[in-house]
Amino acid sequence: MKIDPERLRKEERIAMELCCLYRMRGFTEYRMGAFEEYSVYMENKNFLSSENMAVFAGADGKLYALRPDVTLSVVKNAKANGCTEKYFYNEKVYRLEKGSRSYKEVSQIGAEIVGTVDRAAEAEIVVLIKKTLAAAGGRSSLDLSHMGYVNGLCAALCASGAAQEELISFLGEKNVHDFERYAEKTGIEREKADIFKEVIRLRGEPKSALRRAKELSLNEEMRAAADELLSLTELLEELGAAREISVNFSIANNADYYNGLIFNGYVEGVPKAVLSGGRYDLLAQKFGKKAQAIGFALYLGELGAYLKEDAEKTDVLLLYREGREAAALRRAEELNAAGKSVKIALSSDGGNYAAIEVIK
């Protein structure tokens, strides 16, 4: 039977389209068990969006956790033998949502590159992200940031530990007014504070925003990060893929794992980011791999909650009576062959049907 995309729910259609998309670029599917040893997640809990995991004891007395994340497992199991591996996955993960007391099963689709991550690999990931967001439908927007730029900025303001967290939260909230008070209280130099404020507000067309970001650089780390992003956007422009991309240093992922480019994707109509990821060479290093790594995940579950699905509909309700089973089933085959969905039943059930047929 040929697959008729019209018969699929939107979420299923997006998942299938994306699996095809990633396979077309040489990504192979990564499958993992539903649970893994708890210690793997516990040692890297800062990489996860939430520390809460559904944990249980296995028959061997070890603690296991229902997978809260796939990337950790991909990187842990990557061979990293000098070759570059490209994987994608389409899995359910289990997480405790903010403010909730029960675990939620969320569909996630993502792609990861482990090995050599050069400019081409980063651009390919961005292109795949744009196609991924496009498959989700509607207008989309991709924000790029760079951990080096954010770290460099915090270092220039002499912040570490708790102070760095504070600065990152001002960036994340685009909160200029509370930063001003903080700067005054902690005695951050006027000139540097002004630069921080401009970085908070910086957004828009990537090339001009990045040129400005470079001018604002207070140290080599920031300059190098701005240059790296500039070179990436130039390549994207060359590919005609630089539209609907903006620079936004208000996104920052955990600095213990992420090092370079990071990103967040939005789709119009969904109130939060539906896609995120970045360069996480440091995670690969934690697993003792000599490899670079980059990846992203689309929270299909989050997105699905905002997709408008049409009510499930069957084309024909086929009513038959006892003794007419064969005729009913034959007619059902005929209708299917004509591309119509059919439900055979002894009596009407008040469901949603375009037509009702009766076998006499």
């Binding site: 207008r139 909230e173 007014h177 208000s250 119009e268 109130p271 939060k272």
Partner: protein
């Protein structure tokens, strides 16, 4: 069209007036009207009146593109939103208050009655002080009077209610004022419109701030 969640009450009305003066008026708005939603095609805005503590939820979950909420609420619920402007209104302090003759017994956990459970917990945790938090929904000042708690954590504007109940402020946790918050995804797709509102509001609040300072 951008939608803005406003807190019911005096403060919300004041912010609405500021927005209206800035060119975002709604023709169907009157203060006596009990309608919960106002919109105006021409100015491209829609307003909702919601309970002040709920504004952050409406904005975080995208039912409104932007909203007006006190820093007390933002600290308490830590919504994932942009906090883009301090409106310099509704100024007050988050305080620890107790009976005038209160003496702290550091050998046992301090009993704290409050509406702001997370704020209180974080404050005492940062001090390394054991605290028993009692969540109340109103008339917080009553708790220490009846011996329900040792202290309260609450917002204090003028301190009149405290004074009338023989209570006083022992510590100030933070300064509070009203903030303009924006949904992160809305800012991607309606950034221009939101920036325009922000720009106008900034002019208005900065000049009213200057007037305040002049008066002082």
């Amino acid at each position: 069209m951008i939608s803005i969640a406003l807190p019911k009450g005096r403060l919300g009305e004041k912010v609405y007036r500021l927005l209206a003066e800035s060119g975002y008026a709604c023709s169907d708005y009157t203060p006596e009207n009990r309608k919960l939603v106002f919109s105006d095609e021409k100015s491209g805005v829609r307003y909702f009146w919601v309970k002040p503590a709920d504004v952050a939820k409406y904005v975080e979950l995208g039912a409104a593109d932007a909203g007006v909420a006190g820093k007390d609420i933002l600290t308490e619920y830590a919504p994932d939103v942009y906090e883009m402007l301090d409106l310099n209104m509704g100024k007050c302090r988050m305080c620890v208050a107790a009976k005038n003759d209160y003496r702290e017994d550091t050998f046992r956990p301090v009993k704290v009655a409050t509406k702001f459970v997370n704020t209180a917990r974080a404050y005492y945790a940062a001090k390394g002080r054991d605290a028993e938090i009692i969540k109340l929904h109103g008339s917080i000042e009553l708790a220490p009077l009846l011996g329900l708690s040792d202290v309260i954590v609450d917002i204090v504007e003028t301190g009149t209610t405290l004074k009338e109940n023989d209570l006083k402020v022992f510590e100030t946790i933070s300064e509070i004022s009203t903030r303009f918050i924006v949904n992160k995804a809305s800012y991607r797709f309606k950034g221009g419109e939101i920036d325009a509102v922000l720009e106008k509001l900034k002019e208005k609040t900065e000049c009213s701030d200057r007037k305040d300072t002049a008066k002082r």
